[in-house]
């Protein structure tokens, strides 16, 4: 059970990839990519967690600066990544809209290969 969190993260990544290859709609594929990205966030947070009553890495009037906190470095990585990946998702969705206009379909199986 000590590795359950890592296994859930790996499962999310693989299930996202499964969704991408079985997808029949480009927007469905982009959403499955979001699920795979969420798997990486879960992995990062699981690596940084400390059991035994460790608190969040924010100090204030009630928490004096101490070292019994969870890892802040992985949280910093995950937090910027979430916002930036939203814009990359937007880029992919914009591509899907343009592909629909030019090719008339968003089914990945029907999209013709690169024609001259």
């Amino acid at each position: 059970m000590a590795v359950y969190a890592y296994l859930v993260a790996g499962y999310l990544i693989l299930v996202g990839c499964y969704g991408i290859i079985r997808s029949r709609h480009l927007v469905h594929a982009v959403v499955c990519l979001s699920v795979a990205q969420a798997g990486t966030y879960v992995l990062l947070m699981a690596v940084g967690y400390q059991a035994g009553g460790a608190s969040a890495p924010v100090f204030g009037s009630t928490t004096e600066p101490n070292k019994h906190v969870v890892d802040p470095v992985v949280q910093a990585m995950a937090l910027t990544d979430i916002v930036v990946s939203a814009t990359v998702t937007a880029l992919l969705l914009a591509l899907a809209i343009q592909i629909n206009k030019r090719q008339g379909t968003v089914d990945p199986d029907e999209l013709a290969a690169l024609k001259g």
Binding site: A2, V3, Y6, L7, V73, V84, L91
Partner: protein, 245 residues
């Protein structure tokens, strides 16, 4: 490649990846262990720079160069998506009629919540160095709050509150501001994005040096980027039509 062939290849490759992943996780420090060398180094460094929110300190002080890269990705993706969604020569933008109204209760809640959400967003950005928050989160809250006006009002109302040019300028100004502050840090402390402003008492807003300033600059950039992005999607869905005849 047929769907069946793709599925078989995925099952084979995915199986190998899954086995390798499980073997790798068995070697990791177990979930919730005490072994966090990065934390042992970064928490004292953040306290030394009088920053109460250690995550913000890592983002804008200790590893600010990574955040510089991330916000560059942000503005590049926004520019790319806006360029892709611009109406082409065969399309026109029609004037959207002012249709339909939401329920009265919805509009009331929306009009009450709109200023509250905007103030909350500014608060999250401003307190980024001392409480959970920062430029990224606060910028997202602000951008979402602005679009409450679309839920309760109509699309032309949103267009009046949200003229696009100031937000485009905000997006670029935020990205440029980050680089400018970094260069000033290079000039004064000898390291790009070095912390050159005076420190105060731990827990006060202005105590963290450049962390606060960089957080604010990133907040401005995220608001501009998200609003511009969402407006391109709205334009495509509502206003853009192919030219007939």
């Amino acid at each position: 490649m047929t769907r069946l062939a793709r599925l078989i290849i995925f099952l084979l490759a995915g199986g190998v990846v899954a086995v390798a992943f499980v073997l790798a996780t068995l070697d990791l420090p177990h979930f919730g262990s005490d072994h966090h060398p990065y934390r042992d180094l970064s928490v004292p460094a953040a306290v030394q720079h009088h920053t109460a929110n250690v995550v913000s300190a890592v983002n804008f002080d200790q590893r600010a160069i990574d955040t510089f890269g991330e916000e560059s990705i942000l503005i590049a993706s926004v520019v790319g998506a806006v360029a892709l969604l611009r109406p082409s020569r065969e399309e026109t933008e029609r004037r959207v009629p002012d249709l339909g109204r939401a329920l009265e209760s919805t509009r009331l809640i929306g009009y009450v919540l709109l200023p509250i959400t905007l103030v909350l967003g500014i608060d999250v950005v401003a307190h980024g160095g001392t409480t959970p928050g920062g430029g990224f989160q606060g910028g997202v809250v602000l951008a979402t709050g602005l679009h409450l006006l679309y839920v309760v009002g109509s699309y032309p109302a949103l267009g009046r509150l949200r003229p696009l040019v100031p937000f485009e300028i905000a997006d670029s100004a935020g990205a440029a501001g980050f680089a400018v502050i970094g260069l000033i840090g290079l000039g004064s402390t000898g390291a790009f994005l070095g912390n050159f402003l005076p420190f105060g008492q731990l827990g006060q807003i202005l105590s963290t040096g450049t962390v606060q300033v960089l957080s604010g600059v990133v907040g401005v950039e995220v608001v501009g980027g998200m609003v511009v992005l969402l407006s391109s999607f709205f334009e495509q869905e509502i206003a853009v039509r192919p030219e007939d005849g």
